[in-house]
Amino acid sequence: MADEQLIRERDERLAAEALVIDVDGFEGPLDLLLTLSRTQKVDLRKISMVALADQYLRFVEAAKRLRIELAADYLVMAAWLAFLKSRLLLPADPAEDGPSGEELAAHLAYQLQRLEAMRKAAAKLMARDQLGRDFLARGLTEDVSMKRRVKYEASLVELMRAYAGVKTRDDFEPLHFKRDAIYTMEQALERMKGLIGTMLNWSDLEEYLPEAWRLDPKKRRSATASTFAASLELVKAGTLEIRQVESFGRIEFKRRG
């Protein structure tokens, strides 16, 4: 008796390992459960959920032993089945909320039946005569070209791809100001205020650009704009005079009074 028990367990373990080695062949825990349930050789409606849960847990055990990494959803299913099994075996606790073990088991059985039904339906669908294989469309189409008309074509997939493309450009190139190349007006104003005492004669705006901002054209442009804006600010405040002798000429300023 004990031997028989041992032999049966060994066989099941071997079967589980055979499955484990092929774990990549499964499309998720439900698929695996469906495969395991076939070994019970009964109608899916009569399947023993406790036995199925045991089979599944042994599978996960065997995978662990063989150090095969299972995706998280297989482990979640294992935990859920362990929970289901305990609900099915233990007497119902009237204080506990939620569906009964039987309800949960019935739903799982339904899911398995439904998956199997879809598998069979898919197989029957693919076994049908198919266009281009079993029956054929006209090979020699006659599109007499007399009147040429250009027709623009675009498919929905292309449309959605285009939108996705545009939006991805947005997502992955956020509006980035290259902060390091921007000399703010506040900075310029600060600097000008410090230097205002020295502006006794007309002098070129360019002379007041900070040293580090003169070479790189981008930095220079930003510094020039901010310095000019800051100087206007100071003109408005009445502390500076500004002039430009000719169009595009040099901008000069000096301290007022």
Partner: protein, 206 residues
Amino acid sequence: MSTETLFQAPPIEEQQRMVEAILFASSKALSTAALTARLPHGCDVPAALRALRQRYADRGVQLVRSGDEWAFRTAADLSFLMQKEVVETRKLSRAAIETLAIVAYHEPVTRAEIEEIRGVSVSRGTVDLLMELDWIKLGRRRQTPGRPVTFTTTAAFLAHFGLETARDLPDLKELRAAGLLDNRPSPGDLREGEQDPNRNQDDMFE
């Protein structure tokens, strides 16, 4: 008969010849509307189609219908002669085949429902591929929280598998009678833990 038109429609026999010519020249199935648009005013396209279908019923070429579209196709019993014309098509993955079947039997169906049935997330590219094959298309959004998009099959799907209407899917009646096409929600919310984090929660139990 009752409506008087400015132009006399061609005789019935002539209308049939015209429909025959147009459908013969096209490799794609054409809708009744498209045919009507190309025929002279006043033609009774459905009647012509019925007559033609009858006429070709046991010929080597047959007039087949898929959805509202019509096309001539070689008779399926002669497929053994056609090897030369057959174009080798890409083999679909199991995931794609199952997803297609689920859309066909459950349409309109959301992505979350497909995942619920298969017990695994729909891999990237599967839906994309089926849409590119023009076998599935977007349906109306589901009027549930999150308004998820739905998928349905196309006329090209029906045409490819030689189905007249979606009602002709294999075993449809049996599956429906067995309740296997119901949208049965899972009891309680215990299995929510299994959800793919990307999945829209609202889609789950519609």
